[in-house]
């Protein structure tokens, strides 16, 4: 009846996961009660859960990412604590079985359920606004994508309370992840969670590639698109090409585990090297899926806060597309130590280094964007400069890893761990925190507190360096990854420093929550009435904060690379706005519960597959399919926003903007 699921699946003998599950359950219950008491369920249901508004979906993605960041960080600091204690005679407080689940969960969560939803959240929120349009190409599918990602996150977290998570490392290399060596449900949790969320990610990419290629404001030619849109396009093209590979390779591993196939097994003609190749054919572009939009965010921030256009815009676009293409030709550098031979290693090594050229160009272009500018040191600029300083060092160690004979002595060691944390924290996380600060007022109509924001930055910046720079040295001394126990007592001081660094990052995460709560409390002091709090240059700053559901009453006419800036300067010079256009009623897609119901059935189906409850799996599949059929036969697609409402809102916005621009023209 319940497959492999028995009461024994609950870890009664392990206090850490059990107590954590109870605390999380209590917290969720508390939130649910609070929402009920506030009578906020209908609001949440209508404004967020069933929303097809790209902005709301973007916000939900970022909330998901922030919640999962807490989970991923908790895993991270537990690992740091274990390695700080379990040295020499001590075995620390985590058994290998538990520790191995933690580092697997840490990597899986941070990449798939923190970095990915965070980046996709920004693409959702920002891209249609920057393109000067009202929504993405497929609004309902957008909602489905989000809920499938959330479903994957749910399944990963469920493993804390029911059963176990994989003990294989975040890429689940076979044969270790085959039934022979990992008979438990851990790897099944991993596989199913990634398959479900992977569907969501591919749908997102379809949506955004279509949106960027087909739906732009009049006059917004390709070479007038803001750089963030370009990086979003490159990133989504990479998703489209790379994620299907992941889906296939994970499906093959599932066939091995569930139906006794022999893709990657030691016997029956399987070959685990095939998995290594396929997973990195996805895995390397994945890095650029994350970091390209991050580069986009930095570009927007560099231009806005320097009060100058981005230096070398076309060069940036070219660099982005170059990285996009070369990133598919370098996967073998993840296993130079397989000894594939001089020719192969050298070719892939050089290809990997070549990526350093367009990346270096980007760094210089940000540098020259600041040159001749008037740099305002708001929080996002702290992250920009922190990123530039951190990332060039991460790039240096990356090129070292790309030289095969150097890689031979640092690969798989803590040097590698230090390197990828340096580029992912210094590159991606700093961008996400910068973007969060930068676009927060656009989403909610008030800015975040600057002083707390700077404190958060310093926590991340100092914490990161303390937590990972010693790892470069430890790697040289022969410390490898994923050690539940440290053999060499002389490493102890360095591991202690790394623990302190992780704790400082933890303080930064706590301060992020404090900053949010404090900013909400004192929001009236920092209202963004103009919709343009940073003196922006791209179209999202043209509309109100928060923007109306339909973003723009009339789609803006775009002239030149900096659509909003040009318009703003003309208006300031003339001291008047463009003539009032002829408003028309606007059609917007209606809300739909399709996404949340599909995700519910997908979760049920996924859970059933993990535990071999076949009747429930079939039920879940039928349910998910049925809801699509039901959706396909819907009668109503859109609702009309009457012209009077559009006109009234637009006039109010024009009045505010006129006042603001008038002030600006007085001051210049």
């Amino acid at each position: 009846m319940f497959g492999r699921l028995t009461l024994a699946a609950i870890p009664f003998d392990q206090p850490i996961p059990l107590i954590t599950s109870l605390v999380v359950a209590l917290a969720l219950g508390g939130v649910a009660i609070w929402i009920t008491r506030m009578k906020a369920w209908p609001y949440l249901w209508n404004e967020y859960i069933t929303s097809t508004d790209h902005k709301k979906i973007g916000i939900m993605y970022i909330v998901l990412a922030l919640v999962m960041l807490v989970r991923g960080f908790a895993d991270g600091i537990m690992m740091r604590a274990q390695q700080a204690i379990a040295i020499g005679p001590s075995q620390g407080y985590l058994t290998p079985e538990h520790y191995n689940q933690i580092f697997t969960a840490h990597g899986t969560i941070m990449i798939f359920f923190v970095a990915m939803p965070f980046v996709i959240g920004f693409m959702n929120f920002v891209v249609p606004l920057q393109l000067g349009v009202r929504d993405v190409a497929f609004p309902t599918m957008n909602n489905v994508s989000f809920w499938l990602s959330a479903s994957g996150a749910l399944l990963v977290n469920l493993s804390l309370f029911l059963g176990e998570f994989a003990r294989t490392g975040w890429l689940a290399f076979p044969p270790l992840s085959e039934t022979q060596f990992s008979p438990g449900v851990g790897v099944d949790y991993y596989l199913v969670a990634l398959q479900v969320s992977g569907v969501g990610t591919v749908l997102t990419a379809v949506n955004f590639v279509t949106t960027i290629l087909k739906i732009r404001a009049p006059g917004m030619s390709y070479l007038r698109m803001p750089i963030f849109c370009w990086t979003a396009l490159a990133s989504n093209l990479l998703i489209l090409a790379a994620f299907p590979v992941l889906t296939v390779v994970l499906a093959e591993l599932m066939l091995d585990r569930y139906l006794g196939f022999h893709f990657f097994t030691n016997d029956g003609g399987g070959n685990s090297m095939l998995y290594m190749n396929l997973i990195w054919v996805w895995g390397h572009p994945e890095v650029y899926i994350l970091v390209l939009p991050a580069f986009g965010i930095y570009s927007e921030i560099a231009a806005t806060f320097s009060g100058k256009p981005l230096f070398g815009y076309r060069s940036m676009v070219f660099a982005t597309l170059t990285i996009c293409i070369i990133s598919f030709m370098v996967w073998l550098h993840h296993f130079f130590t397989m000894g594939a031979g001089g020719d192969i290693n050298a070719v892939f090594g050089i290809a990997s280094m070549v990526i350093g050229v367009p990346t270096g160009v980007k760094i210089y272009n940000w540098l020259f964007t600041m040159y001749g500018g008037r740099v305002r040191f708001n929080v996002p600029v702290y992250y920009l400069i922190g990123f530039m300083l951190t990332f060039v060092v991460g790039g240096l160690t990356g090129v070292l890893l790309a030289i095969p004979p150097v890689d031979f002595v640092v690969h798989n060691s803590l040097f590698l761990v230090a390197h990828f944390h340096q580029v992912i924290i210094g590159g991606v996380v700093f961008a996400l925190m910068a973007g969060y600060t930068y676009w927060f007022p656009k989403a909610f109509g008030f800015t975040l507190d600057e002083r707390l924001g700077k404190a958060v930055f310093w926590c991340w910046f100092i914490g990161f360096h303390l937590a990972f720079m010693p790892s470069y040295l430890l790697g040289f001394w022969g410390a490898t990854r994923r050690m539940q126990h440290i053999p060499d007592p002389s490493w102890a001081p360095f591991l202690a420093v790394e623990f302190v660094g992780a704790a400082i990052i933890g303080l930064g995460i706590v301060l992020t929550v404090v900053q949010l709560l404090y900013s909400i409390k004192t929001r009236d002091q920092r209202r963004d009435v103009t919709g343009d709090p940073w003196d922006g240059r791209t179209l999202e700053w043209l509309t109100l904060s928060p923007p109306p559901h339909y973003n723009f009453a009339v789609l803006p006419d775009v002239h030149g690379e900096e659509a909003y800036w040009t318009r703003k300067q003309t208006a300031i010079k003339m001291d008047q706005l463009i003539a009032e256009p002829d408003y028309k009623p606007i059609e917007m897609p209606i809300n739909t519960p399709t996404g949340v119901i599909v995700a519910f059935f997908a979760s049920v189906c996924g859970f059933a597959i993990i535990w071999y409850i076949w009747w429930l799996a079939i039920l879940g599949l039928i349910g998910a399919f049925a809801i699509f059929v039901w959706y396909a036969w819907r009668d109503e697609h859109e609702h009309i926003i009457p012209v009077d409402e559009v006109r009234a809102n637009a006039r109010e916005r024009r009045r505010i903007r006129m006042e603001h621009l008038h002030e600006l023209s007085q001051s210049t």
Partner: protein, 301 residues
């Protein structure tokens, strides 16, 4: 572990080690302290490439801080050029600097990848010692096919002699790594990798698995003993006297999962054992042995 090593050193060495340990606990080990030609060349490459890149990374970092500071909004002395967004000359330079650096490093990479290819035999007047390495759950088996002996978690090699390794795994993936000897390499089931290394200094060094392989993984450490050539021959002779035999039953016993296994020696090895493991066949027939009651090898903790 540390104490053991200290005993083996002379008084001078002991003071030296203590001083180094105080200065930067542990900087006398690992990749930065090579004991053989491969490791030494790799260290040199590491340092050279880092130096080449630092030559552009450090100025870039300084320029970042300097530009941001000088062009801060409050600085009246800085010229504001709100429309300056393109300069062909600068574009040329910013593409050229990384491109030239990468061309230089690319050349180093091409040469280094071929010179230091793990499978390439080392040039030497001395014939290479052959060692077959098998990773098991969770220990290392070293088979000496020419000597007919085998060891577990202890690799003994003659100093100044090239060592030619063949590696495989009997279970999951591992990486064979002796940081002070240089190149690490995968040990993969059903596959054979090749590695050629050499240690010139006699002594005791740390080796480990550098690729996660399951719950017993942290206990997959081993020791490398490098002995002067004549002492190695004596050691091999002595090892043949060990009562443990690595035949079918012996291998079956050894391949049971165990971790933190103490070093041990087998006095005889079934011929063709390594190939049998690679091709996933049953271990070959037992070694014709003189004594029947062979003791069971000690299990790990």
């Amino acid at each position: 572990m540390k104490r053991e090593r200290l005993h083996r050193l002379g008084a001078k060495g002991r003071i030296g080690v203590a001083a180094l340990a105080l200065l930067a606990a542990g900087c006398n080990r690992g990749v930065l302290d090579p004991i053989g030609p491969i490791a030494a060349q790799e260290k040199q490459l590491l340092i050279n490439s880092t130096a080449i890149m630092l030559a552009i990374v450090i100025p870039t970092m300084i320029a970042t801080v300097a530009f941001a500071f000088w062009f801060r909004r409050g600085n009246k002395k800085a010229t504001y050029r709100p429309d300056w967004e393109y300069s062909g000359a600068i574009e040329l330079v910013v593409w050229a600097i990384p491109a030239l650096t990468i061309m230089l490093l690319g050349g180093i990479t091409w040469i280094g990848s071929h010179d230091l290819d793990p499978g390439k035999p080392l040039k030497s007047n001395v014939p290479a010692l052959r060692v077959d390495v098998v990773s098991l759950d969770w220990k290392w088996l070293f088979i000496y096919p020419d000597q007919g002996i085998a060891t577990v978690n202890q690799l003994v090699v003659p100093a100044g002699t090239p060592v030619s390794f063949r590696l495989t795994s009997a279970t999951v993936w591992n990486v064979f790594w002796v940081p002070q000897m240089g190149t690490m390499i995968y040990a993969m089931p059903r596959m054979t990798t090749r590695l050629n290394l050499q240690a010139d200094k006699a002594g005791s060094y740390d080796g480990l698995s550098a690729h996660f392989s399951g719950d017993g993984f942290p206990g997959m450490q081993f020791k490398v003993q490098t002995l002067p050539a004549d002492q190695f021959a004596m050691w091999a002779q002595g090892a043949r006297g060990s009562a443990y035999k690595l035949d079918g039953p012996g291998y079956a016993q050894l391949s049971k999962p165990s971790s933190y296994v103490k070093p041990m020696t087998y006095g005889a090895v079934a011929p063709g054992l390594f190939d049998a493991i690679v091709s996933n066949r049953a271990p070959p027939s037992p070694v014709p042995s003189q004594q029947h009651n062979q003791p069971a090898p000690p299990a790990g903790v």
